[in-house]
Symmetry: C2
Subunit: 126 residues, 2 copies
């Protein structure tokens, strides 16, 4: 059984979930090569839609995502990747999870403090 890369221009959606806490950390996209590298290396690798290139998560920050388990959904166009997140957070804005803004009374409010200084870790790199 193969993944369905056709429905979204060669990509499947990849939901990244912390294996230990169950927190959803980020959503990325994988093409066939990113999925292959993720499985072979054991570290989550995405296709960056903005940079149009393969993206080993953590290549700049060192905050890699060690894969513990991969599931796919009924339509085979989405992945659920459970990981051990290495480092204090996955978000390039310095948060533990990219989902750090919550809808409250119709407004998006930051719901947690930063886990690290993004400027120190990324130094302006993407």
């Amino acid at each position: 059984m193969n993944l369905d890369f056709e429905k979204s221009d060669g990509l499947v959606t990849a939901v990244i979930q912390d294996h230990a806490t169950g927190r959803v950390l980020m959503v990325g996209f994988m093409n066939q090569e990113a999925f292959r590298q993720t499985v072979e290396t054991g570290f989550a690798t995405f296709w960056s839609r903005s940079r149009r290139q393969l993206w080993l998560k953590g290549e700049t920050s060192g905050h890699r995502l060690l894969v513990k388990e991969i599931s796919t959904d009924c339509d085979r166009d989405a992945l659920l990747v459970k990981v051990d997140a290495q480092g204090p957070g996955v978000c390039h804005e310095g948060y533990q999870s990219c989902f750090f803004r919550r809808l409250e009374d119709g407004e998006w409010k930051v719901s947690e403090p930063r886990a690290f200084d993004p400027q120190a870790v990324y130094g302006g790199k993407p």
Copy 2:
């Protein structure tokens, strides 16, 4: 602060997570109107890419998703929707979660029993 519906043809990705257990149940897509209806009604509503119409999850099965919390990510092109899932499961194939197949030794294996009979619930409807 508005969601970014432009990056993916008017849609944002919506990850649906069980509020109580933390299990990721499904991934869907919302356009602006689906998001508005989700917030206003308190029940998750998607844009069905295959049927090209708004889709109140549970409209056929009764298995609605009662929204408890909505977060967005740093790029504002994905949502994390925590829900109380009404009924035994969200998947049209009869499983609690759409992510019922796990990668094991290079093959996708069904990793849990069905939670309900999809034929009895959906009767051939989508």
